[in-house]
């Protein structure tokens, strides 16, 4: 039975990103403004208009058994690494497997495994296509592997909403616990689709930065010189738990997942609504759901992909929702350092937003040299910024091609 008053808390965090192979390294890098964006050295990228991306700082095989890794698509490897870190960080709650759920998203899924097997099909025929190619390519594969690893039986789910997927998974997990289906849910998002065809495809949309001569400065949200997003790969994971369950086992609690607001633009398949109306509705719904007012918000981890239109649409939406409070809210665009992790973004950025709240410090927005005057937000750049103490909430925005808007609110405990 759904109980919207059932409180849900975060008791574990995990991440593997271009900035760091775990939460601690990633967080330290986000505070220092360290970029994880690098050139793509493979010769297959030579003739492409974009030859760089945010590649994970720690290769999966450095921390994963070879035999396990060979069964998995790269996005599944990253998901397992992040989920295991989050599970260990939560001190591994001991519970009935039928009360443990998984909500783990991806925007693209195991496309690189699919492409590799297609190459095999063309070169050597059908009899050499891997019997693991379907489990590798299926978008729910990462969630399923995480579920198998932890023995979860309450239900395994994979929301797919492009670049909002990771955030939607956290929203799904929240509702799974509130509805009484589970006491603990491992939620997150993963992506690992850096490949010449995805680079070419996003470049064909003119969505990517082409700053090949200076990749670490290519992702520059809110800067006048921004020219598109930077593809990234990585995964983030959170252990969500009912507050009663966490209290009963004396778990360390980072924050409460206060609410999620989800809307659709109904505007265009890939362009943001220039007024950000759908994004604003998602943020308002989230604030209402949390019972919070704009003055309670101390920090926003913005979607801020570094596209010319998207950054302005989101800023317009934020200003319309926060009104006069907007000047007091520290806004960070961490994609400036990680690149855009697509289906992993909402999860990794929720990890960052929760740590900002927990530690009362907002990470920087790197590469902001010439602020776009149309933005009009109080953007954290240069140095990380101390956040005020006391009861407060933080907001994490994620939007996806297709017009998906997800706003998550985390509250201090």
């Amino acid at each position: 039975m759904t109980d919207s008053t059932r409180r849900v808390v975060v008791t574990g965090l995990g991440a593997t990103t271009p900035v760091g192979g775990d939460v601690a390294t990633t967080w330290a890098g986000l505070l220092r403004g360290r970029s994880g964006v690098r050139m793509l050295e493979d010769e297959r990228y030579t003739d492409l208009p974009v030859r760089f991306a945010g590649q994970v700082a720690v290769e999966p095989l450095e921390v994963m058994d070879r035999v396990e890794a060979r069964k998995l698509d790269r996005c599944q490897q990253l998901a397992l690494i992040a989920a295991r870190e989050a599970w260990a960080d939560s001190a591994q709650p001991d519970l009935d497997p039928e009360r443990l759920g998984i909500a783990f998203a991806t925007g693209i899924g195991g496309i690189v495994s699919l492409l590799d097997n297609y190459d095999t099909l063309l070169a050597r025929g059908w009899s050499r296509v891997s019997p693991m190619s379907v489990p590798q390519l299926m978008p729910n594969g990462a969630a399923a592997w995480v579920g198998l690893d932890l023995g979860a039986k309450a239900g395994i789910h994979t929301p797919v909403s492009a670049c909002a997927s990771g955030a939607e998974a956290i929203g799904y997990a929240l509702e799974m616990i509130r509805s009484g289906r589970a006491d603990v849910v491992v939620a997150g998002g993963t992506e690992a689709c850096i490949h010449p065809i995805t680079i070419a495809a996003f470049a064909a949309m003119r969505a990517l930065s082409t700053r090949n001569e200076d990749p670490t400065h290519a992702s520059r949200p809110y800067d006048l010189g921004r020219d598109g997003f930077v593809m990234g790969e990585g995964a983030g994971a959170l252990v969500l738990e009912s507050a009663e369950h966490a209290a009963a086992r004396g778990a360390r609690i980072y924050a409460e997942v206060a609410s999620v607001g989800m809307t659709a633009d109904g505007h265009h398949i890939a362009q943001p609504d220039p007024e950000g109306a759908g994004a604003a509705r998602a943020m308002r719904l989230a604030l209402e759901g949390a019972g919070a007012s704009p003055t309670d918000v101390i920090h926003i981890n913005a979607h801020a992909t570094s596209t010319p239109q998207g950054d302005i649409a989101e800023a317009t939406a934020i200003k319309s929702v926060l009104g006069t409070s907007v000047d007091d809210v520290a806004v960070s665009g961490t994609k400036s350092m990680t690149g855009h992790l697509l289906g992993g973004a909402g999860a990794v950025e929720s990890v960052a937003a929760i740590l900002a709240l927990h530690n009362r410090i907002a990470p920087v927005t790197a590469n902001l040299e010439n602020p776009d005057p149309e933005i009009g937000l109080n953007v954290v750049s240069g140095e990380p910024r101390k956040l005020r103490d006391g009861d407060a909430v933080v907001l994490n925005n994620s939007f996806g091609f297709g017009g998906h808007n997800v706003a998550l609110i985390f509250r201090s405990v």
Partner: protein
């Protein structure tokens, strides 16, 4: 250890991670070596490539143990 057994052991080790020394003729792929039906397809493909034999799907169910596979491969090659 015959050359075929040695080659097959390397394949099983690659696919399932089983230590080479544990891969002996009497071991069952499914019960002892953690080879499920999908992994078995990988083992068969690798054997076909390595030993230059053909192992039809209908034959795979008869290859219960490592020894069965070695005998089949030796008879083919």
């Amino acid at each position: 250890m015959s050359q075929t057994l040695e080659g097959l052991a390397a394949i099983v080790n690659e696919v399932a991670g089983t230590p080479i020394e544990d891969i002996t003729a009497e071991k069952s792929f499914v019960d002892d070596l953690d080879i499920d039906s999908l992994s078995m397809v990988e083992v068969v493909m690798a054997c076909e490539d390595k030993f230059g034999v053909s192992i039809p799907d209908g034959e795979v169910k008869n290859l219960r143990t490592v020894g069965d596979a070695v005998a089949y491969i030796d008879a083919q090659s």
